[in-house]
Symmetry: none
Subunit: 200 residues, 4 copies
């Protein structure tokens, strides 16, 4: 007969296909931009039928959101000091916005913000990064480096926003910097943020 938790009838989903589709989606987006990101192209690049994509996602927008999610991992740094944590997380954020994949995330979040029920939820997209920053904050409060009343959100926005503006207006120059040059940028921003928080 049938085992109670038997697999559903028919051919099982190809788990590998998920990965191929997600990779293809990000690659197409990075290659041709928002306007040139087409589901036909994704299917072609992934070597997959369109129906296989529509079985998993409702439309091309939600595929993009999921793709970005699946490929975004914000490391939860813990260096023992607020400055150390901020430097680590800022350095990581800088690399992120200067990378092609990372910048796609920003684009998607920006694109989705003004189409309330049309596009992807930007909070859903951006949250991972912010989450990491919040953890840094919490530990700083626990360590007594910050008061609980410190204006968390605005400071987060300043730090994260600095990186975005840098990636937007100064991209070429920043991409040309080596690790040492980027460290200077990071130091500067972290110093400003800490001073703003009265914790320098």
């Amino acid at each position: 007969m049938d085992r109670p938790d038997s697999r559903p009838a028919g051919r099982p989903r190809d788990a590998d296909a998920d990965d191929r589709i997600i990779d293809a989606a990000l690659a197409e987006y990075a290659a041709h931009g928002h306007a040139g990101y087409s589901l036909n192209g994704v299917a072609r690049r992934a070597g997959v039928g369109k129906s296989s994509i529509y079985l998993r996602w409702s439309d091309k927008e939600s595929l993009l959101v999921d793709a970005v999610h699946a490929r975004t991992d914000a490391p939860d740094v813990d260096t023992g000091s607020l400055r150390g944590d901020l430097e680590a997380v800022t350095a990581w954020a800088l690399d992120y916005v200067l990378s092609s994949a990372g910048w796609v995330t920003v684009r998607i979040a920006i694109d989705g913000a003004d189409t309330p029920n049309g596009g992807p939820d930007p909070n859903q997209v951006g949250t991972p990064h912010l989450e990491t920053l919040r953890h840094v904050w919490e530990r700083a409060v626990e360590r007594g480096e910050l008061s609980a009343e410190a204006p968390t959100e605005p400071a987060l926005a300043m730090l994260y926003g600095s990186m975005i503006v840098g990636g937007m207006l100064d991209r070429q120059r920043l991409q040309g910097l080596d690790a040492r040059g980027r460290q200077v940028i990071v130091d500067q921003v972290v110093t400003l943020v800490l001073r703003a928080l009265g914790s320098d």
Copy 2:
């Protein structure tokens, strides 16, 4: 004889059409979002043939950029004090990123940043705002409120970036605020920036 700057031959462009097209473009964008913004729709709404649009702009994207430009005016505030100027310019920036037309600018600048020679120049798009902020800075230095060595660019990025992140992640809530509520946000950000600059 001939006047050196004589008009070109043929029927002159209809200046009124420019306005109708720009208004229609922004209206279509606001109504249907990025995905639903179609040149056919713009032409229909403006009561204009598509050729008249393509005579002026090379594609729908550059029309959008120009439309946003044409309807964007960054006021060169001058209140007499750094804090006053920053509050004014920040309040204006907040309204800007929360507006539909303003957000389009941000989106376009973001979209164009990673496609070096493909899309519109992000600096061209973003510059007007930054220009205003730089003027504020210059006057503050002249008044002696800031030292000439103050880290201008990072501070600008923090301020402008804060607004962008707010417009991205907290859009719904911020749009719901009245003038008073927005003033609180502005104060908070300006205070942080001034403190970061050691000028509070």
Copy 3:
């Protein structure tokens, strides 16, 4: 294993759509003439997307050629005598050139003749009718009614050309004739042709 002539992968073409498209093409041509024959109009009338048309034909011209081909059937009459055959085939040809669909064929053949590699091959269009006439000839030669040296082609051209000139210059009047009236015309032409052939 696989059958050698297995069907190609994917959804098969909708055979019904072919018919609807062809009918719509001829209807549009007949209704609006050559200048007003538009592929958009054909698609609309056929209730079909343009892509479905372009999957089958490369452009509007080749659709028209195929449409005419598909709806043209030249009956292979066989009455037992040359005069009988010629009368039958001439009567049919007269009806043909006076009909809207038939006249379209002539138009297309004429249009295509002077654009060697641009338009449809006129021989491809006109051949079916000529084919029928040639069969009539062959049987007449077999029966001994005509010598094998009789100038086939010029006589064919005379007969067929008479109908075309009639359809061109005398269309209104001929269309107004009843079957009896048309028979008079047919008799006259056949008599002339037979006399020209020295076979009266």
Copy 4:
């Protein structure tokens, strides 16, 4: 005062422009075929503004008709015998249908026949040629070579139609013939027509 047939006020039409336009129209038609014949192109080639064309003709179709007319001259041959006249006129007709400009006439007449009040009047287009043939007939009757009861119209249609069918189905080959080769064709057709008329 005023002379009764004074010239109208204002700048007179440029007679030279008529010629340039007509030549350009035929050249464009010959170069790009019916589909590629555009008024914009004619204006460009003639070095003329579109308004100058529309001052003279109501649309591109009637320009074409007039252009063909203006460059068509049907000689009223008179050789003294029916056979001689027919040979002359047939040779001329053959050259005509094989020429680009001549074939345009045929095409226009054909196109206009089935759109009663839409296009140019086919009789207007075709008449000149038929007129010439009728004169030939009349003289033959006067000379007693033909009886007044001879079936004029059908014979005319046979002769003229033969040429059209030849130009349509056998164009390439006939265009390749030299004067001698064409003479053979002409003889054949004339012989058939004369025999049909019982006048050989």
